[in-house]
């Protein structure tokens, strides 16, 4: 469960966003509507003037990025010098989470990661799959997916699988999209216009 209330003036732009839900959450809005700002505020990468971010009932507003349990995944989020295998385990190792090889293998298979090699040599879509799988295996409380579903082959199927795997692991996922129709893939839909959120369901 993530509850975020973020108020921030960014030049002429004013962010005034609220989100309070768990599960697989869609945040839809056009370019420049403030989705990425809101994500960065929730992840702790953008300071907010007013408001708070609560994860599982714990106020993380004053915690640094690395202690929030909130991971932001963008299309450029991968660590390029690592091999696919090392990348997948990197976050879990960092957090000291023991991983069942069967679970790793299942996540690989279910998310279509049937390739090896250095991450820098992969296509954008492959890198996004690896970053999203790495985050899932690291078991944070919340995953924020900022446009990182956008470049995937068989996107709807991938998102349905990701939703199932995240739900099994007890992880809430908020993903951004420019297409409001993507709300059909989510438990909840929020619209974002000019820095303001509106809950649809």
């Amino acid at each position: 469960m993530i509850e975020a209330h973020a108020r921030r003036k960014l030049g002429a732009f004013s962010l005034s966003a609220d989100l309070s839900d768990g599960g697989f959450i869609c945040l839809s809005g056009r370019n420049g509507s403030g989705k990425s700002c809101f994500f960065r505020a929730m992840a702790g990468q953008l300071p907010i003037d007013e408001g708070s971010v609560t994860v599982g009932g714990r106020d993380v507003s004053r915690l640094p990025v690395e202690r929030r349990g909130v991971v932001l995944v963008t299309p450029a989020s991968s660590i390029p010098h690592l091999s696919v295998d090392d990348h997948l385990l990197w976050g879990a190792r960092l957090r000291g989470i023991p991983l069942d090889p069967e679970r790793v293998s299942r996540v690989r298979t279910d998310l279509g990661i049937d390739f090896q090699g250095r991450v820098r040599l992969l296509s954008l879509g492959m890198r996004e799959r690896v970053s999203l799988a790495t985050t899932l295996l690291a078991s944070p409380a919340v995953i924020l997916v900022d446009e990182a579903f956008a470049n995937l082959h068989q996107r709807d199927g991938f998102m349905a699988t990701y939703r199932r795997l995240a739900s099994e692991a007890g992880i809430d996922v908020v993903f951004s999209t420019q297409d409001e129709a993507d709300g059909r893939l989510a438990d909840h839909l929020y619209l974002m216009r000019e820095g303001r959120t509106e809950k649809r369901f």
Binding site: A43, V65, V70, V71, T74, A76, S78, P80, S131
Partner: protein
């Protein structure tokens, strides 16, 4: 006619004329055996060795500072970095002399630990670190700033501290930036004269006992402190340029490569 190009190339030529003239006379009409004798080559060896050690120290100590300045807004620290290179360089030599003098508490403390800067390899390297580190930091900082921070933010979200992110995510992917900054700061260290002519005019330690750094040797030849005169100074300068130029050029080539 591209006037911008013409004016730019003329300005560049103005910068290079003294070097070209020096190379012409040093390797041609004024060539003197004293300018490329064993003593000169020993002093170039000392300069190369001490500059390489200084750059290794720059990498170890100042890479985190460059990254800190690139990712955190600390304008005070950013302006303080430039101080050593913005004062006349002999001041750094005098400062190190006083820091390590038996008349100051810091000097008494350091000498009590058998740490001496005066005419030692340690003093030479320390002066070169102070003079080359700002160049290193100012070369690495824009490199770090130009990198997309997404991977770093991703790693931090997964739980990595800034320092861990630097060593695990940023540096393994920064070969070109590190090489370019190292070569540029090494080239700066090789060219240092002001501070080392005070703190380490010559080195009184094995394996460079009695050897002066190259820039000091050239000054000694020119001023007549050692046998040679102007011809030898010009020849030794040309030899030094032939050694230092490839290092500086390689540094700039890597910088271009990292930009592309």
């Amino acid at each position: 006619m591209n006037w911008l190009r013409a004016i730019s190339l003329a300005a560049l030529a103005l910068l290079l004329v003294p070097i070209v003239v020096l190379l012409y006379y040093g390797l041609g009409p004024l060539r003197s055996p004293a300018g490329y004798g064993a003593a000169v080559f020993r002093s170039i060896e000392l300069s190369l060795f001490s500059s390489a050690v200084a750059v290794a120290v720059d990498i170890a100590l100042f890479t985190p500072l460059a990254y800190y300045l690139a990712r955190e807004e600390d304008r005070i620290a950013e302006s303080l970095v430039d101080i050593p290179v913005s004062v006349p360089h002999p001041i750094i030599g005098v400062a190190l002399l006083i820091l390590d003098s038996p008349i100051t508490p810091s000097g008494k403390f350091l000498l009590g630990l058998h740490i001496s800067f005066y005419n030692t390899l340690l003093g030479l390297v320390t002066a070169l670190v102070i003079m080359s580190a700002p160049i290193y930091v100012k070369s690495m900082q824009p490199y770090f700033e130009s990198r997309d921070a997404s991977a770093e933010e991703f790693a931090m979200g997964l739980g990595a501290s800034r320092l861990r992110t630097l060593f695990s995510v940023v540096l393994p992917d920064s070969f070109d930036g590190l090489t370019s900054a190292s070569l540029i700061s090494m080239s700066r260290a090789l060219s240092e004269f002001g501070s080392i002519s005070i703190i380490a005019y010559y080195v009184l330690q094995y394996p460079f006992y009695g050897v002066s750094p190259a820039s000091v040797t050239i000054f000694q030849l020119f001023s007549g402190n050692v046998a040679g005169g102007l011809d030898a100074a010009v020849t030794a300068s040309a030899a030094m340029i032939l050694v230092a130029l490839p290092i500086a050029l390689a540094g700039h080539l890597f910088r271009r490569r990292r930009r592309s």
